[in-house]
Structures are given as structure tokens and as C-alpha cells.
């Protein structure tokens, strides 16, 4: 079994510490030179419910789950039941579990795979204060060839706050697990470069977005906690003060969006983060930012909708509200990162764009990016920062909303003598005085639209790869699985094009026409039930090719082989 990639799942229940085990595994693997990522799943209980840590390790950076899992370790057999749909197994997959633990709670589900017994409970009892999950950690380490040293340093980092006693106990358990692991099958060891010259990061999408915000110049955040955006806010809460910034925990999302508009009006780049339900609350005030031309960035870490939906699972179903959720004609920016790493770039770019055009930018991240911790190459430095067009001096009268060539008017800041104006949600004339005159409405609407449409976004509006006559078009987190599918096809000599949109609003008709040149078949891949992305493409662009849609709502992610299968079915029918 020579593999470049290993997919491992850990399940448990009743406080078995599965998440911690998964984190330790990922940490130890990263120190050994693996790339990869980990995501988490759980039952509805706040504590003590079922939990799963889902990990992929690979010899190069990966942005997608694999087609199936190579190894599942279930600390108690019944815990796997809840997660069967998200942990697809093959006949030759390995399932390691503790049959003794299954006596009370029940056995394994009916799934393919070869089952091995590992008496974790019993082994844990041999160590004072020992825990089964640490036995499990040792066993897995043995199976995949992680050194004891790498586990030890992972323990010291991740369990630092628990104290040296717990670290020591865990280490002893791990040792016991390593020993017990010799009874289990061992995976082939790929060549890893543990001391690679390339700098690598361990980062979640939420942290990367926070980093992008700070690098872009955001110094004021107001927010209300909501799953799965809360970690982004927590990271910013402790990080902003280090660069002289502030995070305010507001009383609700309505306060959050208005506070950031207020701070931005005062000249400070500002951001908030929320999820679908919060974005719905904010729409009225985002419209205020559009009309009064105040820059702000709103991160939406999407989850399954509608309404309260499935808070802990990912979906790409907030596209509609991000694009069309504002009442009136309210053009604004909508962007979406395509991977965990891209969360940094796209957020930083969004800050820059919002400030340059004095408009709100909605950034559509999602739970699968936000809450996944990935081992990646250090993200490239990005030069985009917040830079607002500010008037240097003032004539006798200052026209805040003067209509000029670019559509962007110099924006005065409180404290500048001569620059006083009242920002307004009411339609207004160039001086900012409320107006219901048709010519003012026409000209201000036109200006607010033009400033966004005419901007030069460069090549970052989309990722374009390949040159075949068959293309897959997608966005956001669906990009990872699509990219991996197409890279496999390319290895077989099949060049399928990838178009992944990073900029969803405003539309880029010229650039899209160029990207679709020579495309005869276009497969749309998206994670929404009602095909929101497909509808958007049809309304925004001329799709002169044959079009098919592969869509599914959350909670399950796409896997590369599904996409390969869709393409095969299509081109197979066509006889190619």
C-alpha cells in the first residue's frame, strides 16, 4: 500500500478526547513533514456526545478530502454510527476499535473494511490516570510511522496548559499504544522532508482570514458570536490589541454592522464576521453602507441553511443573499476564498477593495474552510492594503459625493476642517443633501454602480487553470475537490479546464468570455440544493456552451472521484 496520502478518522463519545487526539496527530505529523488538514464533527450534546476528528495527511499540500478513508479508529465501536455518511470506507480500509467498549453501547455499523481489535480501555488502565485516546494516538503513530519525538513535542505544545503531569501520563500511554500498535498493520512510509526549507504553517481558515484582515489594515471589529465564525472573532479579539486595534463584542448583529460603519466613517478600516442568519439581519445596514459610501468588510462563514439550518456543517447556499439580499439597487462587492490559505489573500484583498471603492465587501467563506486546520506552505505576502481616497485640501464647498471619472469621490474624515458632510442613507445630491429629484437619483445610482464595475481587478477575479474544451466552473470550498479531480485527470493526459471565481460581484463579462473561449462543455459544481451558483451564472453571463450541473447541499463535502465520475459520464455519452 504505497500512498502519497492517508485519510484517517477518529471517533469517540462521552468525553473520550477525540478532538484533542486528532489535533495531536496532525501536529505530530506536521512536524514530521506531512501536509494535510483536520476537520471535526460532533453530536448535538455540548459535552460528552459523539465526536469525530477527520484527518488527511499527504506529501504535498491538499485542499480536498480524499475519496475514502484508509483508517478509522473508533475508541468505542458505536461512536462510528453517527458519522458513517462522512467517513466512506472501502473493503480494504482498516477499522481499529475496542470491542470491550462496545459491550454496553453497541457495536460497529455495517460498513466495509477489515476490523482489528485494540483493547484501549484495558491498556489505559495500566497507566496511572491513563486515557484510551492516548493509547489510540500511540497505536496510530506506529501504524503510520510517526516518531515518538514528534508525538512528544506535539504533546508539549497542545497540552501545555494542562500541566506537566498530564503531559507525562499521556506520553506513557502513547508509549503503550506504540507498543500495542506493532500488532496492527503498518502503512508504507512515504518520503517526507521533515526539515524542509519551505516554511510551513498550521492554520485554520478563520485564523487566516483574521490574519488577512489585520494585514490589510483592519483595526476595528465589532461582532456577535455565531457558529462557525466565532473562532475568527476570538482570534481577532486577542490579536487586534497587538496592532493597536480593538474588538467590541456587540449586543447583536445589527449593532455589529452599524458599529463598523461608524468606525469606518471615522476613518478606521473595519470588519465584522458572522454566518447566514447574522448576514440576514445585517442586510438593511449593509445597504446603508452602500448608499452612504462607507467601506466595510463582512465575513460570512457559511453554514447549512435555511434559517438556523445545521450550524456545524458547511454549504454554499448564502450566495443568493450575498448577491441579492440588499433592497433597492445596491451594488457592492462579493468575494469568496477558494481554500484555507486563500482565506488570507481574499480577506486582505477585500479590505483593500472595499476601502478603494468606499463600498461594503461581503466575503463568503464557509465552515469547511473556517474550522479546518490545515498544514500549508506559508502564504505568500500580499501587497494589497487599505488605502482610501481622502481629500487633501478643501475648496469653499466640499462635495462628498461628487460624480467624477472613476465614480469614487474623495472621502473626508471627521476632524478635517472644511470637509464636514452628513453621510446619509437617504438618496442625496453631490453635496450630500437629501434629495428626491430624479437627476440626483439617476446620477448617484450610476456612480455607485460604475465605481465598482470600472475598477481594474487584475487577474485575481478567478483562478484559471488548464486549457481543455471541457471545463469545470465552481467557487469557494468546492474548488479543492475539483482541483484534485482535474489534477488526477491531467496525470492521465486529460486536460480539463478549471474556472474558480474569487470575485462574484460585480460581474466580469469580458474576462469570463475570455476564460470560456474554446470551451464546449461546462460542468458547474456547487454545494447548494437550489443551484444558486448555476442560476447566478445564467443571469450574469452568456453561457454559450453545453452546461451541466453537479450540485448537492451540505453537509457532505465533494470528493474528487465524484467529480471525475460526473465528467466521465458526460464525456462518455458524447463518445470522447
Amino acid at each position: 500500500m504505497n500512498r502519497q496520502s492517508l485519510s484517517i478518522a477518529l471517533t469517540g463519545s462521552g468525553g473520550s478526547g477525540v478532538m484533542t487526539t486528532g489535533s495531536l496527530l496532525l501536529e505530530a505529523a506536521s512536524r514530521s513533514g506531512w501536509y494535510g488538514f483536520m476537520s471535526r464533527s460532533s453530536g448535538p450534546q455540548i459535552r460528552g456526545g459523539e465526536a469525530a476528528a477527520v484527518i488527511r495527511l499527504a506529501t504535498e499540500p491538499v485542499e480536498s478530502p480524499d475519496d475514502s478513508f484508509d483508517l478509522v479508529l473508533a475508541i468505542d465501536p458505536a461512536s462510528l454510527n453517527r458519522f458513517v455518511a462522512e467517513i466512506p470506507l472501502r473493503e480494504d480500509s482498516l477499522i481499529v476499535t475496542d470491542s470491550a467498549a462496545g459491550r454496553r453501547s453497541g457495536g460497529l455499523p455495517e460498513v466495509p473494511g477489515r476490523v482489528f481489535d485494540l483493547p484501549m480501555q484495558e491498556l489505559a488502565k495500566t497507566v496511572q490516570g491513563g486515557r484510551p485516546n492516548m493509547i489510540a494516538l500511540g497505536a496510530i503513530a506506529k501504524m503510520i510511522g510517526l516518531s515518538e519525538a514528534s508525538i512528544h513535542s506535539a504533546l508539549e505544545k497542545i497540552l501545555a496548559s494542562k500541566g506537566p503531569d498530564i503531559i507525562e501520563t499521556s506520553r506513557v500511554c502513547v508509549q503503550a499504544g506504540l507498543t500495542a500498535g506493532t500488532e496492527l498493520p503498518i502503512f508504507d512510509q512515504p518520503q517526507l522532508d521533515g526539515a524542509s526549507a519551505l516554511e510551513r504553517w498550521s492554520v485554520t481558515g478563520n485564523e487566516a482570514a483574521g490574519m488577512g484582515a489585520i494585514r490589510g489594515g483592519v483595526r476595528f471589529v465589532a461582532a456577535y458570536p455565531i457558529t462557525p465564525a466565532t473562532e475568527l472573532l476570538e482570534w481577532l479579539a486577542s490579536s487586534l490589541p497587538r496592532v493597536g486595534g480593538v474588538l467590541v463584542q456587540a449586543e447583536d448583529e445589527l449593532a455589529s454592522i452599524n458599529q463598523i460603519i461608524g468606525a469606518s466613517f471615522g476613518g478606521t478600516p473595519a470588519l465584522t464576521a458572522t454566518s447566514g442568519p447574522g448576514l440576514a439581519l445585517m442586510t438593511e445596514s449593509i445597504g446603508l453602507a452602500v448608499c452612504s459610501e462607507v467601506p466595510v468588510v463582512i465575513m460570512d462563514v457559511m453554514r447549512c441553511g435555511p434559517s438556523t439550518g445545521i450550524a456545524t456543517k458547511s454549504e454554499q447556499s448564502d450566495l443568493n443573499i450575498a448577491l441579492n439580499g440588499l433592497h433597492g439597487d445596491a451594488p457592492h462587492l462579493v468575494l469568496a476564498p477558494t481554500s484555507v490559505t486563500d482565506c488570507l489573500f481574499t480577506t486582505q484583498w477585500a479590505v483593500h477593495l472595499a476601502e478603494a471603492m468606499q463600498t461594503p465587501a461581503i466575503v463568503l467563506s464557509d465552515q469547511s474552510l473556517g474550522q479546518t486546520r490545515a498544514i500549508v506552505e506559508r502564504p505568500a505576502d500580499v501587497s494589497f492594503i487599505a488605502k482610501r481616497l481622502v481629500p487633501e485640501q478643501f475648496e469653499d464647498s466640499y462635495y462628498r459625493y461628487a460624480v467624477g471619472e472613476s465614480g469614487v469621490s474623495p472621502m473626508s474624515v471627521p476632524g478635517q476642517a472644511g470637509g464636514q458632510y452628513t453621510a446619509d442613507g437617504l438618496e442625496h445630491n453631490q453635496a450630500g443633501v437629501p434629495s428626491s429629484m430624479p437627476e440626483d437619483h439617476y446620477s448617484q445610482l450610476e456612480k455607485r454602480e460604475r465605481k465598482i464595475n470600472d475598477f481594474d481587478y487584475g487577474q485575481h477575479w478567478a483562478d484559471l487553470e488548464g486549457s481543455g474544451s471541457t471545463a469545470v466552473i465552481t467557487w469557494g470550498s468546492a474548488t479543492g475537490p475539483v482541483r484534485e479531480a482535474l489534477s488526477r485527470l491531467r496525470e492521465q493526459g486529460n486536460d480539463v479546464r478549471l474556472i474558480s471565481l474569487r470575485l462574484l460581484a460585480p460581474e466580469r463579462p469580458l474576462e469570463m468570455a475570455e476564460a470560456l473561449k474554446g470551451v464546449k462543455r461546462l460542468l458547474v459544481v456547487e454545494q447548494s440544493h437550489s443551484r444558486q451558483f448555476h442560476r447566478y451564472l445564467r443571469s450574469a453571463y452568456d453561457l454559450t456552451t453545453e452546461v451541466r450541473v453537479f450540485n448537492r447541499p451540505g453537509p457532505l463535502p465533494f470528493r474528487p472521484d465524484e467529480i471525475i465520475q460526473q465528467l466521465a459520464d458526460w464525456t462518455g455519452e458524447a463518445g470522447t
Binding site: R200, I214, G244, A255, G262, G287, P414, A417, Q420, T422
Partner: protein, 281 residues
């Protein structure tokens, strides 16, 4: 506040913008506009260092009529806009203005939490116990048996909101009640409100002559609070007064020493490289 060595005395008129108010003649808000201009002139604050923040309603039109910076936001969210601005720009004098509907109905939640947070700003509520802009519905401060509201023809039948008592309980640091017909007296109160640290809540009874013309008689009912009760820093004493005065006492009714919310915001680009430490493997 400006610490210019040369304190040029601006005239109140200079704080008015060129835009003429569209308020009905007789509206109490004219008096408040005058009071704001007098207060700012009296405190020698340059217009460019002031921001007037409002929501939606007749009284929320205030920013447009002043020659300062201003933000006419959406209904009920003025205090959130103001909090964001003040936190980011503590050097700016921030004054939120609005009415009883904007402030206590849709804005109620932000009102509670802004009092709680106690940022250094002033909130002027022009209370006319009606929704004027939308043609005369009952507001949270309307008495329960007012039967002229078309949506509540039998009267609301429910308790009116007690904004000053709520402000006190929630954490505001300065509480006053004024009458729009006493423009100078209101100006003097506003000067103290602006100067006092923390959240200063000033309820100005400001008649709506179009939908509640009987309110022209208000000024005859209001009386200054007894000398010994004015500007107390004893919250319990103030609470007793506010809950028993039937809304007729004017003056500064509470002047406290509660902690003020003002986190330091000094934007810098230093230390950014250090962040990488936590991500680096």
C-alpha cells in the same frame, strides 16, 4: 475637545448648515437645534471635531441642519453607529440625536447596551410621545389611554417606557430632562452633558404640534427638580425621583462616576510579522 491656544468664540449661528429644516413650524426640535448650537459654541468645539449621529424620524433629521460631520443612519441604530465612531475616534465629540420611537422601540436594545457600555458620548432624545414621521402612531413613551393613534384606536393599554429610569438602571453616567421651549436652559444642560464623562442621556420633551398639538401645554407642567435633588450621584436617590416624578421634573437628575468605556485604538503596522510565530511549524 480642541485644545487650541486661541479659543475663537464661534457664534451659535455658525454651527447651522445652509439646509433649512423641514420641521413643522412650532416643532420643539427647532429649540433643540438652537440649544445644540449654543452648547457647542459655549464649549468652543470646532465644527469639524463634532459628529452628529441619528436614525430615522423627524428629530433624526438633525445632522443635516448642522455644519458638523454627521451620519443619518437607519432606523434605531444611531447608538451603534455612534459607539463605533467614538471607539475608533475618541478625539471627536460624538452626539447622537433621535426621537422616542427610533430610540426606544426599534432602538431599544442598542439603548440598553450603550448605557451599559457607557462610552463617552451624549444622546439627545427629542421625546414627543408619538411617531411623527409616519403620521402619528403611539410610541413607547405614549400614555396608555391616548386614542388618536390609528393603529391603536383604543389606546395602547400598556405601560409607557421610562427611558430615564432604564438609562439609570442600565449604567448611563449622566441623566437629564429638559424642555425644548427652554432653549437656553437646555443648552446649559447640554454643555454639562457633553463635558461629563461617559454616556450622557438627555431627554428633551419636544412637542409635536402636528400630531399632538396639546403638547404645547407641556412647558406649563414641567418644573425644575428641587435643588437638593439635582445632579445627585446617588443612584438610589435618582431612581426614586425618576420613578415617582411622573415625568415633570427637569434638570440634571443624575451625575455619576461610573467607569467609562474607551479602549485604546492606536493603529499600527508593527508586530504583524510576529503573528506568524503562532502559525509556523
Amino acid at each position: 475637545m480642541s485644545s487650541d491656544t486661541l479659543q475663537v468664540q464661534l457664534q451659535p449661528k455658525e454651527y447651522k448648515s445652509a439646509v433649512k429644516p423641514v420641521w413643522c413650524p412650532g416643532c420643539g426640535d427647532f429649540g433643540v437645534l438652537g440649544s445644540i448650537t449654543k452648547a457647542l459654541a459655549g464649549l468652543h468645539i470646532q465644527p469639524e471635531n463634532v459628529a452628529i449621529i441619528s436614525g430615522i424620524g423627524c428629530s433624526s433629521r438633525m445632522p443635516t441642519y448642522l455644519n458638523t460631520y454627521g451620519f443619518h443612519g437607519v432606523h434605531g441604530r444611531a447608538l451603534a453607529l455612534a459607539t463605533g465612531l467614538k471607539t475608533a475616534r475618541p478625539d471627536i465629540t460624538v452626539i447622537a440625536t433621535g426621537g422616542d420611537g427610533d430610540g426606544f422601540s426599534i432602538g431599544g436594545n442598542h439603548f440598553l447596551h450603550t448605557c451599559r457600555r457607557n462610552p463617552n458620548m451624549t444622546y439627545i432624545v427629542m421625546d414627543n410621545q408619538v411617531y411623527g414621521m409616519t403620521k402619528g402612531q403611539a410610541s413607547p413613551t405614549t400614555e396608555p389611554n391616548w386614542q388618536k393613534g390609528k393603529l391603536t384606536p383604543a389606546g395602547t393599554g400598556i405601560n409607557p417606557f421610562q427611558p430615564l429610569a432604564i438609562a439609570l438602571a442600565s449604567g448611563a453616567n449622566f441623566i437629564a430632562r429638559c424642555s425644548s421651549s427652554d432653549s437656553n436652559g437646555t443648552a446649559r444642560v447640554l454643555m454639562q452633558a457633553i463635558e461629563h464623562p461617559g454616556f450622557s442621556m438627555v431627554q428633551v420633551l419636544s412637542p409635536c404640534v402636528t400630531f399632538r398639538p396639546e403638547q404645547r401645554e407641556w412647558k406649563n407642567r414641567l418644573i425644575p427638580a428641587p435643588e437638593e435633588m439635582q445632579a445627585t450621584s446617588d443612584a438610589a436617590e435618582a431612581a426614586r425621583l425618576l420613578l415617582t416624578d411622573e415625568g415633570v421634573y427637569t434638570g440634571i437628575l443624575y451625575k455619576g462616576n461610573r467607569p467609562v468605556y474607551q479602549p485604546k485604538l492606536e493603529s499600527s503596522m508593527e508586530n504583524i510579522a510576529e503573528f506568524e510565530e503562532e502559525f509556523r511549524i
